[in-house]
């Protein structure tokens, strides 16, 4: 049960972030859109984008699965799962989003993953 929840959390977090990144790369937000008078229009626009709605659904799945995991496992086990998604998402960003992940960025992502895992010990 514990590992099923871990799979759901990592899978849904990865899918949510990939969908968000994919959609937001296609629709760059302009600085003018962030002004208080235009935020409402920006939000309405975002709410109509299918991939973003799907991303929010995956975020909700991840959140509820994390709550469930916390009820059956230690926090020190549950938190490093987040670190696993950083490395997996970097790999998928390279493969699916065609981002140029140079050795420096790989090293950075690996350091962050190790660091988050250590914080949870």
């Amino acid at each position: 049960m514990k590992w099923i929840m871990v799979g759901i959390i990592v899978g849904s977090t990865v899918l949510a972030d990939l969908l968000q990144s994919f959609e937001m790369k296609r629709n760059v937000v302009a600085v003018d859109d962030l002004r208080p008078g235009r935020i409402g229009r920006l939000l309405r626009g975002l709410a109509q984008r299918g991939p973003l709605i799907l991303a929010v659904c995956f975020m909700a799945i991840s959140f509820f699965a994390f709550m469930k995991l916390l009820s059956i496992a230690d926090l020190s086990f549950a938190v490093p799962v987040t670190a696993a998604s950083v490395v997996l998402e970097t790999v998928l960003a390279r493969l699916l989003l065609k981002e140029k992940v140079n050795p420096l960025r790989w090293a950075g992502a690996f350091c962050v993953a190790c660091g988050v895992a250590l914080l949870a010990v």
């Binding site: 990144s21 937001m24 760059v28 920006l42 140079n102 420096l104 960025r105 950075g108 962050v112 660091g115």
Partner: protein, 152 residues
Amino acid sequence: MAAGRVVAERPETGFGPKRLDFKTKLLTAVVVLANVLGNFSLSWGMKHQAAKLADSPLAYIQTIFSPWVLLGTTLLILWFLARMTLLSWADLSYVLPVTSIGYVFTAFLGKYFFAEQITWQRWLGTLAIMLGMILVGLTTPNTTAEVREHGR
């Protein structure tokens, strides 16, 4: 100067390469602070409402509208919007490691406000995250605009 050409290809953001880089870093700071302070406010609010929650289901609704929980929720909405904007300006493989500095700030807030213990493993983890953040911060935030340019 591939990076300059890449950024210049994105006139809809309304600023040039150097300003785009500055704005990306500024927005990264907003994303991190909104997330850390939002989680802290939620945690602070929930810790002070924990006794009430056991009383009745109505207490849950009251908790949502308590000042700290409301502030936390507002900050997390701001975090979500800022993060989406940041993802439109920078790579996912850049945003993820760079915003992980939030884990470090959360650890410090936990130590000073909730009297949590910081072990040597946590200090080592903090150093690893900061090193990772510095390494990723040295790379170009957005590498995919060039791919789209070649794809046209």
